[in-house]
Amino acid sequence: MSEETGAVAIAARGASRYYTMGDTTVRAVEDVSFDIERGEFAALLGPSGSGKSTLLNLLAGLDRLSAGSIVVAGKDLSTMDSEALARYRRLTVGMIFQSFNLVPTMTLADNIELPLRFAETPRGERRDRVLELLTNVGMAHRANHKPSELSGGEQQRGAIARSLANRPSVLLADEPTGNLDSHNGQEVMMLLRELNEKMGVTVLMVTHDPALAERYARKSLHMADGKLVSTVEALR
């Protein structure tokens, strides 16, 4: 990313998201400010309803800020129109979900090809790229399987491969191990760590499990009631 300035991958300044429900205004995210450096592995912690998923959606460009600003890889999301946000989601960030969100009617390979189609990657390059991505996550042998034919761990590894299709600089993970048993969960976490360390991808992971954050993340952001209450930097 040419516009990337300095060592900061994500910079939030007074980021807020309010919803209006009838007469009351719900402050899902309120005045959140933080920096995440490039190549960092960060965790976003908090109980359910604390606003961490909303914040992640804001960072992903799926939701719009009510106030404040978020700059990711030098791009200010608060000023983007929907077309620019789509391009941002396509090229700058990758998303991983608790429920994997693979398209159930598509094979794993087709799922991974999807973001490449949106990015209009030439047809000839796609096949190689899909195979490369699947190999990186150890899923090449499952390329032509539908998600329903795969275990949870396999699906999540496939979803990670898909999130990396267009070589994003930031990976946003929403409870990536939430639907997995501890063994598969650990494998997925190891994979994320590997990607973070080897490829230098900045990872921001939402979790409600402090142990997971402690083990893998170097920086932990704690949220409660829509506000950032503490930032913990692990000594390593």
Partner: protein, 435 residues
């Protein structure tokens, strides 16, 4: 997203809801089929009618009379003599020189006694121009047409031939004697005499009916002569008596000239030119205009009825796509999270609608064609039973095929506007929230 990817994804999505999409596509096909069937029938009927009318020679013919003629007396009562030129040989040459004119022939019709073997009949003989050979009635002539415009040959009407022989075909090649009144010029131009003459002709052909030769449809002739032969015979014409009492006798004038055009397209111009020459002219062009208007209205109504089925099909498209949006809520959310823009999502649904329209349109044209062939076949079976020749009432021109498929795609894409907009507006956060 590029077009190929768009249609690949659209095709994949349609395969995933195969039954629903197939049923909707069939709905479009039925709609297009009814449109094609209706319009082809309209076009076919129009073509059939045009063919029949053109073949009759009606619209290629302009009838010219002098304003001095007794038939035009009332309407031209105030006309000055210098403004009402005589319809003479000079006028005939002028008219013949007009662009598009194939032949100018005087109307020749006279009472005569026709002798065949030992039988005699009192009947009308009439001149038939060479250019009439393309007319429908003459085209089906049994035997052949006149070898030339001045041959001593006749065509006889079939019913008349039946009076002469039990087998009407037996008269072909036989000789027929026409006894007629010949007008001979008198000592000066103010008189003429009439003499009885006889002339022998060879019967060369049989006509089923009298071709369209003039305005006096009541006085149907039974025996037809080539025009030049008929003219050379100086058959006594009813107008001859009228001519002798007019103020400028002497020159030969015609009571009526039948002007044949190379095609109906010239008729209007020739009629205009003749009127400028101060003669009365009449053609059946006005009749065609109303016939054309009738078919335009018929086509419109057939088109509207045909389109109704397509309108119903478009509702099915809307229904199918709205269902697809609801069903694929999550998938749309995923696509947006992966970087699909609102426009991409919209285009994807348009592509699905267009694909249904294209496939439905193509199937519909095929189905419509089959229905049309069936109607045509049924009609011809009926015509055959009625002992009438088969007719092609069914025409599917290429523009209709392309137009129908194009129209189906257009209607489908229009039907896709609402579902596509709905899909594009879908909030990805909401769509991804529900498990």
């Amino acid at each position: 997203m590029n077009r190929q990817d768009l249609f690949e994804l659209a095709a994949r999505n349609m395969r995933n809801a195969r039954l629903r999409n197939a049923l909707t596509t069939m709905g479009i096909a039925v709609g297009v089929a009814s449109l094609v069937a209706m319009l082809s029938l309209g076009i076919g009927l129009q073509g059939f009618a045009n063919h029949q009318l053109m073949k009759s020679g009606m619209f290629q013919t302009v009838f010219v009379t002098s304003k001095q003629d007794i038939r035009n007396m009332d309407e031209n009562a105030d006309a000055k003599p210098e403004e009402t030129p005589a319809l003479n040989d000079e006028a005939r040459k002028q008219i013949a020189a007009l662009p598009g004119v194939e032949e100018v022939a005087p109307e020749v019709r006279a009472m005569s006694e026709v002798a065949y073997g030992d039988k005699t009949n009192f009947t009308l003989v009439a001149g038939l121009p060479q250019s009439a050979r393309d007319e429908d009635a003459v085209e089906k002539v049994q035997g052949r047409y006149f070898s030339s415009a001045n041959a001593d040959e006749v065509l006889v009407q079939r019913d008349f031939a039946k009076k002469l022989e039990t087998d009407p075909n037996a008269v072909l090649g036989k000789t027929l004697t026409v006894r007629y009144a010949e007008r001979q010029s008198g000592d000066d131009s103010s008189s003429f005499s009439i003499e009885r003459k006889e002339k022998e002709f060879k019967i060369v052909g049989l006509l089923d009916e009298e071709p369209f030769g003039g305005m006096r449809m009541i006085s149907r002739a039974r025996v037809f002569l080539p025009t030049e032969t008929a003219e050379a015979m100086h058959l006594m014409q009813p107008a001859d008596t009228q001519q002798i009492v007019r103020s400028a006798p002497g020159t030969r004038t015609y009571s009526m000239l039948t002007v044949r055009m190379k095609s109906a397209a010239y008729a209007e111009k020739v009629e205009e030119s003749v009127k400028k020459m101060n003669y009365s002219a009449y053609s059946y062009l006005d009749a065609t205009k109303s016939i054309r208007r009738f078919f335009a209205v018929l086509d419109m109504f057939l088109g509207i009825f045909g389109s109704l089925a397509l309108a119903v099909a478009s509702l099915a498209i809307i229904n199918t796509l709205v269902m697809a949006v609801l069903e694929r809520r999550r998938e749309i959310g995923i696509m947006k999270a992966l970087g699909a823009s609102d426009a991409d999502v919209k285009k994807l649904f348009f592509a699905e609608a267009a694909t249904m329209g294209l496939v439905g349109g193509a199937l519909g044209v095929g189905l419509g064609w089959v229905i049309g062939r069936a109607i045509n076949f049924g009609t011809n079976v009926y015509l055959h039973r009625m002992k009438m020749p088969a007719e092609n009432l069914w025409t599917v021109p290429l523009w209709l095929i392309i137009g129908a498929v194009g129209f189906a795609v257009l209607v489908s894409v229009l039907a896709g506007i609402y579902p596509a907009a709905r899909a594009a507006k879908l909030d990805p956060v909401q769509a991804l929230r529900y498990e």
